[in-house]
């Protein structure tokens, strides 16, 4: 079927299988490989992107169902050479990753965690970031990064 997706402010028209996920469109059709596949079954969060500012799992969203929404991926946060988003900077500052594979999903999820108002305390950050698995186990540093970035993002 033919669909239109709005990703990082750009419109893309493409024909897809009805079964194709948003994640596979991003990765295999549009070259936006920043969103990662860690399970393809909604368990790990590596594929997290924003749809109209809400965090969603790219592997659990059919591409056809993503039409009409403004989709933001990790590539949409900071262009080439542009300053990093405060959340990206915070992950750098805190070494909030090791292999980096879960990181794009963590960052997208963390931005939503802050804008949802779910980053008021460290406990809350832990709880609301628990949908994003990190096998390298950078969790304490991820919590510190979110706590830093929320201030830069203007949230208490």
């Amino acid at each position: 079927m033919d669909i239109v997706l709005t990703i990082n402010g750009r419109e893309h028209r493409l024909g897809v299988d009805v079964r194709t996920t948003l994640l596979d469109v991003l990765r295999e059709r549009l070259g936006l490989t920043g969103s990662k596949k860690g399970c393809d079954q909604g368990q790990c969060g590596a594929c997290t992107v924003l749809m109209d500012g809400q965090r969603v799992l790219g592997c659990f969203t059919l591409a056809a169902a993503a039409q009409g929404a403004a989709i933001t991926t990790i590539e949409g946060l900071a262009g080439d050479g542009a300053p990093l988003h405060p959340m990206q900077q915070a992950f750098l500052d805190h070494d909030a990753y090791q292999c980096g594979y879960c990181t794009p999903g963590q960052i997208m999820s963390a931005i939503a965690c802050v804008t949802e108002g779910h980053a008021r305390t460290e406990d809350e950050i832990r709880e609301f970031m628990s949908g994003n698995l990190c096998r390298c186990a950078a969790y304490p540093k991820i919590v510190a990064a979110v706590a830093q970035a929320k201030l830069a993002m203007g949230h208490a």
């Binding site: 299988d17 079964r19 194709t20 596979d24 990765r27 295999e28 070259g31 936006l32 490989t33 920043g34 969103s35 990662k36 596949k37 860690g38 399970c39 393809d40 079954q41 368990q43 790990c44 590596a46 991926t73 990790i74 590539e75 946060l77 900071a78 990093l84 990206q88 900077q89 992950f91 750098l92 500052d93 070494d95 990753y97 090791q98 292999c99 980096g100 594979y101 879960c102 990181t103 794009p104 960052i107 950050i125 832990r126 709880e127 970031m129 628990s130 949908g131 994003n132 698995l133 990190c134 096998r135 390298c136 186990a137 950078a138 969790y139 304490p140 540093k141 991820i142 919590v143």
Partner: protein
Amino acid sequence: MPDDASWTTIGAAVPRIEGRAKVTGQALYASDEPVANPAFAFLVLSTAARGRIRSFDLRAAQAVAGVLDILTYENVGHEADPPAPHGAGEETTTMQTSRIWHDGQIIGVVVAETYEAAREAAYAVGVEYDAEAPSATFDSPGVQEEVREPGEHKDFAVGDADAAFDAAAVRIDARFGTPTQHHNPIELFTTTCTWHDGSLTVYEPSQFVHGLRGSLAKQLRMDPKRIRVVARHVGGAFGSKGIPSARTAWIAVAARRLNRPVKLVATRGQGYTIATYRAETRHHIRLAAGRDGRLLALRHEGWEVTSRPSDYNVSGTETTARMYACPNILTRVNIVHTDRNTPGFMRAPPDVPYMFPLEVAMDELAEALGMDPVELRRVNDTQTDPATGQAFSSRSLMRCFDQAAARFGWADRTPQPRSMRDGDWLLGWGCAAAAYPANIGAGAARVLLGPDGQATVQIAAHDIGNGSHTIIAQTAAERLGLRLEAVTVQLGDSDLPPAGLAAGSSHASGICHAVAHACEDVRARIAVAATTSNAGPFAGRDPATLILAQGRLRGEDGTAEPLHDALARVTGGALEAYAENIPKGLPPDSVGKLYSGQMAISRGTQREDLTTYAFGAQFVEVRVHARTGETRVSRAVGAFAAGRIINPRTAHSQLMGGMIWGISSALHEATEIDTRAARYVNDNIAEYLIPVNADVREVEAIIVPEQDAEVNPLGMKGIGEIGVVGMNAAISNAVYHATGRRIRDLPIRIEDLL
């Protein structure tokens, strides 16, 4: 000129140099590599665990729109050999024949225009089996048990452990078990193959790109020069991407048949049987001491599961025999053959399963003696390897215990079980020792230094989250006298000079030494040119006294000239140096072995002059709910002495991550097996429990400074493995302290505590 700290690189806690790429999504992992017009593969796995394939029915699969090819043993079996076995014995086969060795074995590959079509067709493949009842695990009918012969690993018999045990005043005799575990890196097992003029390029996450290249050359009967393996960033590995898996050759064959790139992203569940795992183990420990706490006897016997044809084992008795001074030691390891996929190494391979029984037994012994567990370790500490009589190159075990104990507040512990409480929560404090051999890999590196003061370092090292990019840059910057930003690192590509397998805490030291050697070559050539020249400030001096520092060539008296001028004496362009490093204990052909894809690691347990190990101490607080049995690790403090640390920031993340792996191992992780079908049941990362953010509270890793001039020239021991070691026991000991229940089978679950 005063030293400027901004130039300091080795030992500096600098951010990862590839950090920006990682936080912007630009870092390319294998399945991110763009290839033109790929076809998509989906694996067909066996649903029988033992027997033969009687027949395939491919009609429905072939009828799926977009299907391009279906590979089975019938049409491609002769086109690829299996990877060589890792460890002794033989390897299971896949599509070479109709033979089925285990559930989830690769028996077919469907290739289609789209991922969706490949998946649909793969599920439509009909298979008839001549199946036999499989043997799943320990105690299953049909398993074959045998004593592991000495080979890669050996046993120890010092004194007479049985007689000493029988005669001793205080004795512990206990049996333990550890479960099957799967690495579950978040990056899946992917492979993309492309052919061009008879040459093959493979994009695959790997901990050993030269190893994979060498294996593929043999499997596909090709000249290795025609194969390139690329793994620029690896999304976690933990051992699972270290040895070649069977899938790669079949994807290469599929791409060759279609004359088109083929891309495989195996599913999470398939990863449980197409790669390796940590096998379940059992242990029998006997420990005896005098009333003063000094050990008199240690007897440790282990049992490990492996596949039907393989003799793979980890034999962690090589560490437990070395932990404490003891005049009578006996070790033995048995392997149990089952109808399962072949296990492999997983983070701290021997020491996670084997240190668990020893360090719990030590806690039991301390209690039997009425002695503090830390003091029991102190009484039995030694600078001499008790298994061989050799000296340790350095051993800071008690410094680790003392620093971690102080930080943890151990002095406030009341020793009686169930004596510390916070409302409904029983508090337990426990500790255990950590140890891991200081291994080091052979390696080679090329350095290019340009007149603009920019350097490029090339080495086929692996960044699996271990910080390789950054520590390579730090080493080169320090040795070339450059700022970190002036160094570009190229790694993860078998076209580059080889580095060893990124495993066994052997990688950082291996690659940093190779890079340091190449940089020394650069320095020496610049220095020789400067001292043999008739003009210039260094004419006639001893070249060995000149160093590269802070963008200059410098003499001992402070005389200096800009690097650019010094370099101009050697070359008008870039100076290129290539160097190999063969660590002590390895034969001279070791780098040649790497080029051909074989491992070349000098092990801390196998040197003939010294025994080299890193040591550590783990302290944890658990909270066990008195009514529900819910168990949480509320605090963990680990202290580790591992020689020189190149980057304390990335090292801290490694150690902390290892400790959280330990929490996971003790309380969460286990692969459940349906013993009738010899099948993994919870083959996904929702039901295979690993910690989520909310499971982890305070985790503190202390790096204890340690200088070791003997272990290797840079004094490095490696830190990737040791952080997880000892956590199983520390948590079990803390649970005992909280509840009075001694849990000897992992993981510890609510039902154990009700």
